[in-house]
Point group: C2
Chain length 343, copies 2
DNA sequence: GCCGCTATCCAAAGCGGTTTGGGGATACGA
DNA sequence: TCGTATCCCCAAACCGCTTTGGATAGCGGC
């Protein structure tokens, strides 16, 4: 399907060389000829074969994304969709293809090396980094640009990443609740083997200790971020002898669960109990309006995808431009879910 | 990066031909030689270059997915993530790559034809088909296998698709509510230019008319399926002079919104008001447990992704195997959100 | 008329694989 | 001893594009 460069050249009575140069904007071709070639190309709906082109140039014009699916619970992190949508926009505009691999997390390392060894991609995006993540060192030894969405904590050598300031976000959120008089503040976190969750916890703990509040293990949870997880956390923690007066949630989904759990107990958000959540600004769970439903540390994961893609493309075009890093700050927006500690 | 076939052959004192045949399991090569080649290949971490291979064979070994992003509201449909996770599994196992394009819906047609003209893919998956969808006819003229996740209604020529029985699902769900004595049943649907939403509406209307119930335009809504949309629908419809006693929602996200809207009005699901929703079984919004929260027509979109991918691969390997179609039935599971019409 | 330049174009050699069409041993039968 | 079938292996062409290294022609200057 589709005409080839050779056919196009033959139909024009020109050599493939000239046609190639005409279309790629090289100077050594007559302006009139170039126009003639261009017209014929669009008329014949000519598009250069990607595989041939990249074989000849040595550039794949593609970026690889490997999205891990935890074998244990088979959860697909809902933020991937928005992140990828953001990144995809940038790739399309730059003429890059996005190639996606969905793999069980055990096979992730091999998925990367396979992709690279086959020359299928010019760079890779690393999703969902763990606190101790072997992938970074593996990729560092593979001589290909890569960028983490997030960071990892056990790697000393510099690498490129884009992250949000999880530590500061949760420190601020916790401090905000403390300022409102809360002292029993629960943390309903994601799995703390994930780097982002670990940093959030640290921010939370630091704010508590800054206020002289002893952390209570009964008020800290970690799990995959589903709605029922939030529900159970609310229900169970509120039955403690000394229940929390405020909750800190790691995602909107969890916050919805909290809200349901609390409202089933007859408690009203912002009056009886406070909730602050992180909000990735997923398009189908908007937290806006005149007064947002939740007080939230918010940062668009879609925008993160866009920026990360731009950074990675920069690394691809100029591998020497050094490790690129960006720390996005979140904004703490006030919603209806928080209020002063009652009692 | 990575050794080439030629280098590997040279290091073994063999010709590229023999090495290629040894690795690809052709019979005309000595068993001992084959083993020697295999060992050397794994030792050198040899992986054939994808672009070269597919250029030589003429097969791209890749499937294209074009995911549209509505320019108006910039919503990324959350079911994409799970569908793609399911499809991705199948592709990896079959040695196919998944290439993804995220485009504004206006550019969608050109995204497909570009992908195909460049020879980047062997087949394409069509997402989110509309009632009147120009893409199907376009693709039919392009001589490449394609498969719709869903169906479209204005195309007479046969084509391949995998869909759930939206009509029957919503007919059953509506009938179920009618059997419980409900007569004021609201439909909180997705955008009805989408084929799935249109079929759901038809199923709903048919069940109503079968019971001699006149549909009420005030009880029917359509919009992009966000949580606040569900919330507003509940709040506003319950203020009607003759409010609904039951709701039919097109997604879990919308159902969550309904639930919040109703509970803010002091109404309890299953007792004061009934809600039935469609449930795509997204991993982070599980609707299971001893008694699921929502009565739901359910069908795993992840499984749909797996099956669709298998069908498409079948079409790719044997283009003559004719249009393939599969209609998945949903199961109606009873949850805590429904009860007999009060009063 | 010859030289050197510039402006245009082209032939051919890759890129890294697969595949066609042999070709040299070795073994076997006559 | 020769022919021939079988087993292994290889040289070379090809996939569709880019790119190197000329080649040709036109033109002004001496």
């Amino acid at each position: 399907m589709g005409v080839t460069l050779k056919q196009l050249a033959a139909s024009l009575g020109l050599s493939p060389t000239t046609v190639s140069r005409a279309l790629n904007g090289f100077p050594e071709v007559n302006a009139a000829t170039r126009e003639r070639v261009r017209a014929a190309a669009t008329k014949a709906n000519y598009h250069p074969n990607t595989r041939a082109k990249s074989l000849a140039t040595g550039r794949a014009q593609a970026i690889g994304h490997v999205i891990p699916v935890s074998t244990s619970h088979e959860i697909v992190n809902p933020i991937f969709a928005d992140f990828i949508a953001g990144a995809g926009e940038v790739y399309s505009r730059a003429g890059y293809e996005m190639i996606l691999r969905v793999v069980a997390d055990a096979d992730e390392a091999s998925a990367y090396s396979d992709l690279i060894a086959r020359g299928a991609v010019d760079g890779v995006m690393v999703h969902g980094p763990l606190v101790h993540d072997p992938r970074v060192e593996m990729l560092a030894g593979l001589d290909i640009p890569f960028l983490l969405h997030g960071r990892t904590s056990n790697v000393t050598a510099p690498y490129s990443w884009l992250d949000i300031n999880n530590h500061r976000s949760f420190h601020r959120a916790t401090q905000f609740l403390i300022d409102f008089g809360h002292r029993r503040i629960a943390l309903v976190n994601g799995l703390e083997e994930m780097d982002f969750a670990c940093r959030r916890r640290k921010g939370y703990l630091e704010a508590l200790s800054g206020a002289g509040i002893e952390p209570d293990p009964f008020l800290m949870r970690q799990a995959e971020m589903t709605e029922p997880y939030g529900y159970r956390a609310a229900q169970e923690m509120m039955q403690l002898p000394d229940p929390p007066t405020a909750f800190l949630a790691s995602s909107m989904i969890v916050a919805y669960g909290l809200r349901r759990g609390l409202s089933d107990l007859g408690l009203k958000l912002g009056r009886d109990v406070s909730v602050v959540t992180h909000d990735d600004e997923l398009s189908y769970l908007p937290n806006d309006g005149d007064v947002p439903m939740f007080t939230a540390t918010q940062s668009s994961v879609r925008e993160a995808g866009r920026r990360a893609a731009k950074m990675l493309l920069q690394l691809v075009t100029d591998p020497e431009c050094g490790p690129l890093t960006e720390l996005m700050e979140t904004s703490l927006v006030l919603g209806a879910s928080t209020g002063p500690a009652s009692r």
